[in-house]
Amino acid sequence: MDSNGSLRANPWARSPSLTSAANGLSSDPLSFPGFGLQHNQPKWDGPSNSDYGIRAEASFKEFNQPSQNGSPPPPDSNNEIEFADQENCHPSESSQTNGLQDWDPSVVLNNLSFLEEKIHQLQNLVHLIVRQKGVGQPTELVTQEQQLITTDLTSIIIQLISTAGSLLPSARNSLINTSPLLAQIGQLQGPTVPSGTGVGISCIQPQKNVGKKMSDQAMQTDLPNNCEMEQNYNNVEHDPKDEDDADDGESLAPGSYEILQLEKEEILAPHTHFCTICGKGFKRDANLRMHMRGHGDEYKTPAALAKPHKESGSPKLIKRYSCPYPGCKRNKDHKKFQPLKTILCVKNHYKRTHCDKSYTCSRCNTKKFSVMADLKTHEKHCGKDKWLCSCGTTFSRKDKLFGHIALFQGHTPAIPLDDNTKGVAEPPIQDSKENSKEGNMNNTFGSIPSNGNEVQNVMDVKGNSDDPINYFSSLNFEANFGVFNDFTRPLFDDSESSFSFVMPGSFKSGGESGSDNLQ
C-alpha cells in the first residue's frame, strides 16, 4: 500500500506538468480509470447493504495508522505519501523517452477535474468516518467495514496515482504510460470481469481478501490448526523447484494478498526513480534524493533527505506481484500461480525467465545470463571448482556431480588430460602428473589450450556415444567367457605360487642347472 500512497503524492508535487499527461490518457479509452470508479462509487453501499459511514470510518483509521507510527510525523496524509517506496511510481515515468505526439491539453484538463472530484470523494469519505467515530458500533461490523473500506480506498488511491503518474513532467509522451495504469487497474479489476452487474468492480477482489483475512485472524487463536492448513497448502501448491528467489517457502492462501502486475516495459526499465524537475533517472531513491539537493534548498531539509520510513503495524493487505508473461507460473492467470514477493523479484524473474541471456561470461564464453548480478556471481567461481561430467554438464559441487553420474547410465567424470586443463578438475590431481606427459604425445587433445574445455567436452561426449558399441562387442565374448572361466579357474587358484618362467635367453646358464636337475 505504501507505494501507492507515495504515488498519490506526485500530482501535488508536480502539478505544473499535470497537463502533459493528459495526452496519454486520451489516447486510450481506458486511460480514464477514474471514470469507472466514479461510476462505481454510488454502488458501494448497494451490494453490501452496510453503512457507508462505518466503512469509511474504519478505513480512515487504518489509513492514518502509518503516519501515526512514523518517526517524523507528517503533517497530513499527503505528506506521508511522499515517504513511501516509489517503486510503483516508475512504471508511469520510466518509458517516456520518446514521442511528444498526441499532446491534448483538453484531456489533461478533463483528467485534472477528475482528480479533483476524486479527492473530494476521499475527503467526504474521511469526513463521514470522522462523524461516525463517536457512534457506537458492534465491533464485528466495524472491523468488517473497516476492511472493506480499506480496500475501496486502496483502489481509489491507485486510480489517483495512475492518473497522477500520467501527469508527471517527464511523462510527456504518454502512450506507454497507460499500459502500467491498465495493468494496475486491470489487476485490481481482473477477476471481476462481470463488473457490469453493478457490484463495485474494485471491491470484489479485496472483499474476497478480507474474508480470507478475517478467517486467518480468527484462526490465529488456534495455532496448530493454522499451521496444518498452511502445510497442506504447501503440499498442494508449492513447487520448490521454482527457480525464482521470490517467495519459495511462503504459502499465502490465494486471495489473502493483493496482486500487482507490472508491464514488461516497466520491468525492463533501467531507472526507477526520476527527478521531477530535470527528469533525470536513478536506480535508487537515495541517489535521487542526493540529486534533488541541487535543485534548491527545500530539498536539503532533513525531512526531505530522510530515508522514507517503512509503514508498519497496520493490518494492511500483503502485496504480491504477478509476472506479465502469459502462461508463466508467476502469472496470476496460471492455475498454480505463485506470486512474487517484491518488485526486485519480478525484475529478476522476468529477466531470467523471459528475456535473452545477453551477458556472457568473458572467461568461459559459455555461460550466459540475463541478470548482471548472476554473471558477476558466476564469474567469481568460473574456472574453479568445476566438476565436469563427460556429457559436458558442469557442477559446482562434487556431490552434485556424483549424484548425476549415479543417476545417468554411462556418464563419467571428465578427467583432464594434462596440465593444460588445470582448473577444470580437482586441483590436486595435477600435482602428480609426471607420467601423463608421455601419454599425451599420442593424444590428439594434448595440444588443446586451457580454454579448450568445450572442445574436450565434445570429444568426451563422442567417446561416450561409442560406448554402447564397445559394450555390445564385448558381449560377444560372453560365450567364450564361460569356457575360459572353467578352464582357467583352477590355474588362478594357484596364482600365488611362484611359477617362474626361465627365459629362452637364459638357456645357457639354465642348461647347466637343468642338467643338474636331472641328477
Binding site: 582357467t488 590355474l491 646358464s509 642348461g511
Partner: protein
C-alpha cells in the same frame, strides 16, 4: 636340436598322455619341471609352447621370442620385471589380445596410463588386473582401466593419486567387477566408494582399508546383494553414531574386517552387521575392548567360524561371553590380547571344541593349565601359535603331543625343553616348527623331531644357542622336505651342518646369519647344491668369500635376495653375483673388499635389481649418472649410515 637318429622314442607316446603329464607339471609350482620337459625333444618343446597358459617372466629383453613361442598366455605375472614400459605393454597386449585374462603389474614401474589403456582396449577378455603400488598412477590410468569392460577383479592398492573421479570412471566402465581392492587409495572418499557400490552390483569382495570413508558410502555398499568380504581396516571415519543411522543391511556378507577401526564399539558392529546371518569371519584386530556386550553381539551370527581379537583389550566377562557363543568357532586369534587368563581361555576352548587354529601369542598370563585344556578339548587343532607365552612351564609343552593333527607350532621364546620336543614329535604332520630363542632345547630334542616329523618344511632355530651340528644333521636327514631353515646366531654351527643341509633339495630360504664358524668350503656345498635357493642371509659369516659368490652365481640361478654384510666378499664376488638373472634384493654393508668401482660394475651388470641397500659412504662415490640410470631401470638404492658393529670382529 637336430636328432641324429631318426627314432625318437618319445614320439611313440600318445599325445593325450603327454598332454596330461604336461598339464600336471605346469600346474605344479616347480618352475624347472616345465623347462626340463620342454628340453626333452622338439615335440615336447612345441607342446609346452602351446599348453602353457601362465607366464612369469624374469626379464623382458627377449619379449619378441616369448611372444613368438607362447601364443595362448592367459595369466601374466610381471612381478619379477621391475620395469615395463608402455611400448612393452602394448606389444604384449596386441600379441595376446584374445587370450590374456589376468595381469599382475603390482611390482612393476615405468608404464603409464597409456600402457594400461592399450591393455584394457586390446585384451578384451581381461578379467583381472593388479596395479598396486603405483602411487604415481593418476585418474587417467583409472579412466584407461574403465575400458576393460569385462574386468572382474581390480587391485589398486596404494594408488594414492587416484581420486574419486578416476574411480568413478572405473565404476561406470567396469560394471562386472566382483573384487575391488582400494587399500591405501587415500584420495578416494565416500563418493567414489559409494559410486562403485551403485554401479557394480556384482561385487563379492570390497577392500576399503585406510580410506577416509564414513557411513555414507556404507549405506550403498551394504545394499550390494552379493557382497561377501568387506574389509574396512583402519577406516577411522566410521563411527558408532554414523553407523547407527544405517538403514541398509547386507545378508550375504561372510567376512567383515574392522581391524584398527578405533571409533567402533559393539554398537557399531551390531548396526553394521545387522541381518548378516551368514557372517563367518569377523576380524576385530586392535580395534576395541572385548566386553560382554560384544560377546552378546557376536551371538547373532550363527555361522561364525573365525574371530580375531588380537591386540584388543579383553575383559573377563567378554572372553567368557565368547565361550558362550552358539556358533562353534574354528579359528580364534587372541594374540597380544590383554586379559586372557587360564580361567577364561580354558572356559573358551571347552565350548569351542572344533577349534583348528589358536593364536595366543604374547598372552603372558596363561600357564600350563591353559595348554592342558586346549590340548584336551581341541583335538582337531592344526595350528597353535604361542610365542612368548612366558608363564607356560616346561610341563605345559608335554600336552601338545595330544593334538596329533598339528601342522603349525610356534613356541618361540618359551621354556620348552627336550621333553616337550619329544611330546611334539607325536605330531607327525608337523610342517612348520618355530623354536627360536628356546634356550632349553638341545640336539636330543631335535633328534626326536627328526625321527618322526618327516613332513617338516619350515624350521626356525634362531638363537637357540644350545643346538649344534649334531641336531641339524639329524634334522636334515629326517626331514627331506625342508624349505625354510633359520639357524641364525648359533655359534656352534659349523660346516658339517651346511653339508647336511645342502642335501635338502627343496631348500628355498636359508638364514645362517651370525654363524661365524662357517667356512667358505662349507658354504660352497650350499651354493653348489641348493639350486632352488631364493633367499640367503649370510650376514656376519665373516669367512665366506668370493668363492662362495662365484659358486652361487654358477648354480643358484633362482636367488632373489641375499644379505652379504660383514662377509669377506670383494668386487670380484659381487660382480659374479650380477649374472644371477633374477637377483632383486641385495644388502651389503661393511664389506671391506668392496670399492665404488666394483659396486658400479655390479649395478650396471645386474639387470633385475629392485632394491639395493648400501652404506652411505658410497653415496658420494657413485656417479650421479649411474644413480639416475638405476632409478630409470626401476632399482632403488637405499643409503644407510649403519655403524660398524665392532664386537662382531672379535
Amino acid at each position: 636340436m637336430e636328432q641324429p637318429n631318426s627314432t625318437n622314442l618319445f614320439d611313440h607316446l600318445a599325445r593325450e598322455l603327454i598332454c596330461i603329464i604336461l598339464d600336471h607339471l605346469l600346474r605344479d609350482d616347480d618352475p624347472f619341471a616345465a623347462k626340463s620337459f620342454s628340453q626333452v625333444c622338439k615335440s615336447f618343446h612345441a607342446l609346452e609352447s602351446t599348453r602353457r597358459l601362465k607366464l612369469k617372466p624374469r626379464r623382458l629383453e627377449y619379449l619378441g621370442r616369448i611372444l613368438k613361442r607362447y601364443r595362448w598366455i592367459s595369466q601374466l605375472d610381471l612381478t619379477l620385471c621391475p620395469c615395463v614400459d608402455d611400448a612393452t605393454l602394448e606389444r604384449l597386449s596386441l600379441a595376446w589380445s584374445s587370450s590374456l585374462r589376468r595381469v599382475d603389474l603390482s611390482r612393476t614401474r615405468l608404464f603409464s596410463h597409456v600402457g594400461v589403456s592399450s591393455l584394457a582396449l586390446n585384451c578384451t577378455c581381461l578379467v583381472e588386473i593388479d596395479l598396486s603400488n603405483r602411487a604415481d598412477l593418476t585418474d587417467l590410468a583409472a579412466k584407461a582401466i574403465a575400458n576393460a569392460v569385462n574386468l572382474e577383479r581390480l587391485s589398486l592398492g596404494r594408488c594414492k593419486s587416484i581420486t574419486d573421479l578416476g574411480i568413478a570412471c572405473v565404476a561406470v566402465g567396469c560394471s562386472r567387477l566382483r573384487h575391488v581392492g582400494l587399500r591405501w587409495c587415500i584420495r578416494i572418499t565416500d563418493f567414489g566408494a559409494a559410486l562403485i557400490a551403485i554401479k557394480c552390483k556384482q561385487i563379492r569382495s570390497f577392500d576399503l582399508s585406510y580410506l577416509p570413508i564414513t557411513e555414507k558410502c556404507l549405506h550403498h555398499i551394504l545394499q550390494l546383494e552379493h557382497l561377501e568380504d568387506l574389509v574396512l581396516e583402519h577406516c577411522i571415519g566410521i563411527e558408532d553414531q554414523g553407523l547407527a543411522t544405517l538403514q541398509a543391511s547386507c545378508k550375504s556378507i561372510k567376512m567383515l574386517n574392522l581391524s584398527k577401526c578405533q571409533n567402533i564399539s559393539h554398537i557399531g558392529i551390531a548396526s553394521l552387521s545387522k541381518g548378516a546371518q551368514n557372517l563367518e569371519k569377523l576380524i576385530l584386530s586392535r580395534s576395541l575392548v572385548v566386553t560382554a556386550d560384544l560377546a552378546k553381539c557376536l551371538q547373532s551370527f550363527p555361522k561364525l567360524q573365525l574371530v580375531k581379537l588380537d591386540g584388543c583389550l579383553g575383559t573377563m566377562s567378554g572372553l567368557k561371553g565368547i565361550g558362550n557363543l552358539c556358533a562353534s568357532l574354528k579359528e580364534l586369534n587372541l594374540s597380544k590380547c590383554a586379559g586372557v587368563t587360564d580361567e577364561n581361555l580354558s572356559f573358551l576352548v571347552q565350548t569351542h571344541k572344533d577349534l583348528e587354529k589358536i593364536d595366543i601369542t604374547c598372552c603372558g598370563r596363561i600357564t600350563h593349565a591353559s595348554i592342558s585344556s586346549i590340548t584336551n578339548s581341541c583335538l582337531r587343532l592344526t595350528s597353535l601359535r604361542m610365542e612368548s607365552c612366558s608363564m607356560v612351564s616346561r610341563e605345559g609343552f608335554l600336552f601338545i603331543g595330544q593334538c596329533q593333527l598339528l601342522e603349525e607350532l610356534d613356541v618361540t621364546d618359551t621354556e620348552i625343553d627336550d621333553q616337550g620336543l619329544l611330546s611334539i614329535s607325536r605330531c607327525t604332520k608337523l610342517s612348520n616348527l618355530k623354536l627360536g630363542i628356546c634356550l632349553m632345547i638341545t640336539d636330543i630334542g631335535l633328534k626326536h623331531i627328526a625321527s618322526s616329523c618327516s613332513e617338516l618344511k619350515h624350521l626356525d632355530l634362531y638363537r637357540s644357542s644350545r643346538i649344534t651340528d649334531e641336531g641339524i644333521v639329524a634334522i636334515s636327514l629326517g626331514c627331506p622336505l625342508l624349505e625354510v631353515v633359520n639357524i641364525a646366531y648359533n655359534s656352534n654351527i659349523t660346516d658339517t651342518s651346511l653339508v647336511s643341509l645342502s642335501k635338502s633339495q627343496k631348500l628355498r630360504t636359508l638364514e645362517i646369519r651370525g654363524c661365524t664358524r662357517i667356512s667358505p668350503e662349507g658354504f660352497s656345498n650350499i651354493a653348489a647344491r641348493c639350486k632352488h635357493l631364493e633367499t640367503l642371509d649370510i650376514k656376519s659369516c665373516y669367512k665366506i668369500n668370493d668363492t662362495g659368490m662365484i659358486q652361487l652365481a654358477q648354480y643358484s640361478q633362482n636367488l632373489k635376495q641375499i644379505k652379504l654384510s660383514y662377509c669377506s666378499v670383494t668386487d670380484l664376488g659381487l660382480i659374479a653375483l650380477a649374472s644371477i638373472s633374477c637377483l632383486q634384493n641385495l644388502s651389503i654393508f661393511h664389506v671391506e673388499g668392496l670399492t665404488s668401482n666394483g659396486l658400479v660394475a655390479f649395478l650396471l651388470a645386474s639387470q633385475s635389481l629392485i632394491k639395493v641397500k648400501l652404506h652411505a659412504c658410497f653415496e658420494s662415490l657413485i656417479p650421479h649418472q649411474i644413480k639416475k640410470y638405476m632409478e630409470a631401470r626401476g632399482c632403488v638404492l637405499l643409503w644407510r649410515d649403519k655403524t660398524l658393529e665392532a664386537s662382531r670382529w672379535e
